[in-house]
Point group: C2
Chain length 425, copies 2
Amino acid sequence: MSESTHHEMWEKLNMDLEAHDGLLEVLGKFYGDIYLSQENRLKGAEYLDFVLSEVHGLRIKELQDAKAQGRKVVGTFCVFVPEEITLAADAIHVGLCAGAEAGSELAEQLVPRNTCALIKSFIGFKMAKLCPYIESSDMIVGETTCDGKKKAYEAFNEIAPTYVMEVPQTKSEAARDLWKSEVLRYMKAVEELTGVTITAEKLKEGIKVINGKRRALQRLTRLRAASPAPISGRDALLVNQISFYDDPVRFTAKINELCDELEARIETGDGVAPADTPRLMLSGCPMAVPNWKLPYVVESSGAVIVGEESCIGTRNSRDLVDESGETLEAMIDAIADRYMKIDCACFTPNQERLDNITSLAKDLKADGVIHYSLLFCQPYSHESMKVDKALQVEGIPMLSIETDYSMEDVEQLKTRIEAFVETLA
Amino acid sequence: MSESTHHEMWEKLNMDLEAHDGLLEVLGKFYGDIYLSQENRLKGAEYLDFVLSEVHGLRIKELQDAKAQGRKVVGTFCVFVPEEITLAADAIHVGLCAGAEAGSELAEQLVPRNTCALIKSFIGFKMAKLCPYIESSDMIVGETTCDGKKKAYEAFNEIAPTYVMEVPQTKSEAARDLWKSEVLRYMKAVEELTGVTITAEKLKEGIKVINGKRRALQRLTRLRAASPAPISGRDALLVNQISFYDDPVRFTAKINELCDELEARIETGDGVAPADTPRLMLSGCPMAVPNWKLPYVVESSGAVIVGEESCIGTRNSRDLVDESGETLEAMIDAIADRYMKIDCACFTPNQERLDNITSLAKDLKADGVIHYSLLFCQPYSHESMKVDKALQVEGIPMLSIETDYSMEDVEQLKTRIEAFVETLA
């Protein structure tokens, strides 16, 4: 990642320059090893490499420039925060840093040691002054999807004021009412933040833009059903990761270009791995940048990843907001309905997720599934057992992995995954 | 616990007689060591000893007799299930088994290993056929208070059909609406189960009975402010534990008698420990029968326990339902409001709990607080850090304990607690 030209900006953001330089250096090397070493990579990956290299640089500069022009930045941790509404208020919607151990030890001053790596990471990034997105955010939005995050936001709120949306735990009518009221409350909060009144016209445009992003990601998902696999799982994950950071219109155009290239590849039977390479789908907890450990291990173990059933994956792109509404009320209803379709493990029951996983695995012609839970993530650990049963019924083998962000278990993971891949070959 | 006369009943309940006899034997010995060894115990403790000795015996026979007369039994795991409503439908409301490791290994077939001991216990009790309350229940009611329980009920539902109430996660107006709709849904479910139509008159009576139980427990709490402590923490915990099992009218009368005895003791300056004994309050996760490990260790370490801030403690008795309502609608509102006052760690924010803990500690003249979290209980582990800070402001020292149901850490706990008690003396 480029460092030299952005120091002044980072300093203004009150970041720890020395530690941040160190982080970028490590990440740059890590990225080189995991991404730049790939063979037969897509031309469209240049976009991914560039965005990633400037994810703390040029993109932050764009945010700062937008802020200078009076626009606001909303930072989020979860796919439940309705991006359509943020956009409708001319604000910028970004994901916040997580996915690395940076600052995690500091985080244990605020949350228990037995907290998942993702939560410790976002707190650690803030405490260690390493996340330019947090420092650029005019509003930080949390949500009540799991006990860990719900309670961590209370502590986080003391160092970074956090607006919390209540996500219900069932899909009853009353739960949907609660969620709709939360969507409306969010809309008011964003209007207050930005001073912009959200009109039907603006919201319609926001819906269109975000649906466009989702359609591009859906297209990518569909193309990955081809054999040989036309794109590596690592690059596809990166696409999904970048979808949380880059400008949505630019991102959509670039991903559609990348999909054009994939279509051409598929036509000529070109791929990133031979057609007989075992095809695996990942399922479970989200992998935030730069959490590439598991995909790297999998794709270094003789398999290729053909899908990611996760919030940083199909969960965030599968459902569109109905675009037929013309009034603000109708659009809010459509937004509430779309988000209530999310099959997060926070819901009970959550049969939808099991159905979605089995049908996605079949659509993508996956030979097996690796279920990934972060240590201490109770919702996904519980569902791991149910996913396994559902896949067994379909005759699809599953390997359950529980890990965190440390590199200590890489060899052990590699051994287990290689053994799993061998059974599929 | 008496065994001989109830075998036929337990057999009809399809329990594992041999394993259950073994459990009762162990518990009997455990109870003898922890309870019967106490000095200067109250006369009223005879009631506690008797109920406990017959908790799987005569009390189950009462349930069976009531069932034979057409009454229904509702089994619950949480203080959020409105007992008033159960009673208004002429049904019996009981807590279900948890609090021991019995069957916990079996439970790991259904829930992840990293699940708290309480959850593994209730699943284990069912799988090992050791809980006559589960086997007597016509309806089992769970709730969404924590990720662990919420997801465990999905697996539990496969072996014991479980009705789940959605408890909201904030105290907003919309959350209260959701909760009220859940209270109404529960009322309908109980009416359907029992065939009884809940009238205003019946609900008024249910509210009166359960408020009576709460008033008796409040009285007990107040009397424990006296010095020397007139009752041991172990016995007071047992009172709270029994409140989930025994008939509420009988329980209320017996606890009021016990409070009369306490008042007489206080008048004469009699107590269970010298007046200069360090006074500790317990705070945190509920301790279900027979989870007496921590109180025993504390009271064997030169301290006396003067209060339990827990669901099996003040959380379940502090708030009354407003009795002024005359219509069903008004009473349902009063019930919804009362339950929304519960300061469970499932809520965010949950400043009420911090305020309640500090004021209770002061009211009870506690010299210190022991915060008790079950391993892997995220809500209470997170709040432990906040409770510590809140108590520091008041100059009240706190010791944070994380443990489970195993006896392996008893010596280690004793060392830590003795050291803590020494700092208070």
